[in-house]
């Protein structure tokens, strides 16, 4: 995997948020998300819920890939461990679901800490392979430790609490968690901490000679990202009520990474576009043909050729180009 498509185009993003127009757009999107359950049939609402949950996972990968320049293939495992712990707590031990989810997120964060301690001193393809290997270990454990994980058959949950049992109210519950979390992450990547991460991505040695503690910054970023993946895993438990090794396997990590890439690495909000594109495409295409994985594959190839910056990244580039073209005569300074 080359690192070129992972180059972010977010330089103007922080500025554009401060513009009233951007705020208007965000308000519009939030409004649309709020009225969605009123206009969509219940199955589609569940698909949108799934999109939101996977957006969080894709976002967690984007924080590392887009802002710290570290592409992880182990996030599926972190995500899945959170689900496993939550379901094990509720089904096998008979505990409370909220405590279960909290424990799941805690476990995911701790696991991310372990991954980080082992992987942050590497970069590029070595980081990719190391996280891949760590993820495979988790998958192997989930598959073989039958007494705890149920092996191949996985674990079944006890269902959602009654007040979020139907699709619409669960959707709102997820939205209420995901929206502020997204805002927090947005603040984070545009904070001095986020800028430091970007500095590390662009030149690790320069940041080191400037006196920044590079490993510590990367460690914190990885742990935060793991926390986010853990939240996604916890929400997924409520959504799916089931976990099996397929939730921690490599393809889970890859599909979340593809969501981040499709939306645009380093754009953060692109994760939502990417997750929506992939999940909706999967649902729509598989209704018509059994060859839907091929269709998805071709779509990815086309995106990589024509919009390696991802959908959001591409759109931003186009907007930026148009704006500079129109504004040049008036403001020669740009």
């Amino acid at each position: 995997m080359r690192s070129a498509p992972l180059t972010p185009v977010a330089s103007s993003a922080a500025r554009s948020l401060r513009q009233p127009r951007a705020v208007g757009w965000i308000a519009l999107v939030l409004l649309a998300l709020t009225v969605l359950p009123a206009v969509l049939p219940s199955y589609q609402v569940s698909v949108v819920t799934q999109v939101l949950i996977f957006s969080v996972l894709a976002m967690s990968i984007d924080i590392l890939a887009g802002f710290a320049g570290r592409t992880s293939l182990g996030h599926g495992a972190i995500f899945g461990v959170s689900s496993y712990v939550a379901i094990y707590w509720t089904s096998t031990l008979g505990g409370d679901i909220w405590i279960g989810i909290a424990l799941g997120i805690l476990a995911a964060t701790a696991l991310a800490g372990v991954f980080a301690a082992l992987a942050i001193r590497t970069s590029g393809v070595y980081f990719l392979l190391l996280t891949l290997a760590l993820g495979m270990i988790v998958w192997g454990v989930c598959l073989r430790w039958t007494a705890v994980t149920g092996g191949e058959n996985g674990l079944r949950g006890v269902g959602r609490p009654a007040f979020i049992a139907d699709h619409a109210s669960f959707y709102y519950a997820v939205l209420i968690i995901v929206a502020p979390l997204t805002w927090l992450m947005w603040r984070l990547v545009h904070s001095p901490f986020g800028l430091t991460l970007r500095g590390i991505r662009d030149s690790e040695s320069r940041m080191r000679s400037l006196g920044y503690n590079v490993p510590l910054h990367l460690f914190v970023a990885f742990v935060l990202s793991g926390f986010l993946a853990g939240v996604a895993g916890g929400l997924y438990v409520l959504f799916n009520n089931f976990v099996s090794p397929s939730s921690v396997q490599l393809s889970q990590s890859v599909s979340a990474l593809l969501m981040a890439i499709t939306g645009g690495v380093g754009t953060l909000l692109g994760s939502f576009v990417g997750a929506a594109a992939i999940i909706v495409l999967e649902n729509a295409v598989s209704a018509y043909t059994a060859r839907w994985p091929s269709v998805l594959g071709i779509a990815f190839v086309l995106i990589m050729i024509f919009a390696p910056e991802g959908v959001v990244g591409r759109a931003r580039l186009l907007f930026a180009r148009r704006r500079s073209r129109y504004s040049k005569p008036d403001h020669p300074g740009g």
């Binding site: 799934q50 058959n153 996985g154 079944r156």
Partner: protein
Amino acid sequence: MDRRRFLKTTGLTLAAGAGVLSAPFLARAQAAPIRIGLMAPQTGVVAAGGREIIDGFSLFWESAGNQAGGRKVEIIVEDDASNPDTALQKARRLVEQAKVDMLFGNLLANTGLAVANYVKGNGTPYFIPVIAADDLTQRARIKNVIRAGGYSASQFSRPVADWALRQGYRRVAMISQDYTFGHEQCGGFAQTFTEGGGKVVGQFWHPLNTSDFSPYLGQLAGVKADVVFAMQTGADATRLIQQYASFGLKDQIPLLGSQNATDQSVIRTMGAECEGIVTSAHFAEGADLPATQAFVKTYSDKFSKIPSLYAFSHYVGAMWVAKAINAINGKVEDRDVFLDTVLKTDLPDSPLGKPVRFDDYGNPVYDVVIRKTMKNKDGKFWNVPIGGYPQVSQFWKYDPATYMKQPPYSRDFQGIKKT
């Protein structure tokens, strides 16, 4: 016409009009097609088996004119991608968007368990002709999940264990894929075999998709077993049988297997190396019964291959449920009546050639046949009955309540009797 009368007559006319207008809708609702969601893996590791699920299932419905209980039957096929998360997603879509009246299918146990857990919450009838996970019709029974045409994993390995004891075998070595389906089949065998005075001299668990069995075969040869029991599915079964023969073990230690080890999906492409393996099942494609041979001929003519377990059990499952739908004149919307009727329906005329019925837990009771792989007149290998055990339930000779007190079979618990 005074005001009151005007209101009254207008109201009546309108009401009558509404009644006339709505009548066709009611009639149409009655005659609306019965929608069945069939989930089969069309992509992923078991896609070949998924194809046969669709073939077997649609073969029955074509022969029934796509009708049951006076209503048309509409089948919506979805790909579960051999993945439990996808299976769940598709189940949700079939139930919530396509509004199916019932679900059928799935091949891998994990996909079936995921879907079963989902329908537990909403009561949609779900029929599982292939999913064999013991507990779905035992300790964790779900009322609306019925194994029409299917069997529970440990149900068929017990008769073959009993048969082995009768042949005088006393020391068995077992080699199996290391996952729940394998643990359960081996558990059934090991428990019956040791309770009957036999001894398990070794159990070897190998990961799914093992390409080289030589380390295991070497150990198998060393434990001085009278007989070997093999439990593999798909390509693993093909490889084990081939390597068992090429290591020369075939002539030294007789090989017994679970029903899937010599299923047509495995031995279809094989030669003499698969000859003489003894297994047990509810169905033997080489059985000399008119109903069985008629089915095998129809299927072979249409798809140019002998039907496998996947095709066969979905054909029988569809037949079973169709008979129940006929009995209630197509009123599948009343789920309680529908499920009760399915459970009460006996199937005397299926390709099994022998009558079958359900036990109290939604699992069929079969006349189990002991089968041996032999060459048929076309030079192909198939399973031919050499013995039988009438009326074998998933609980064998145990009392259901007592039986379910023991833990489910796993790697750690194989029901082996301590001596």
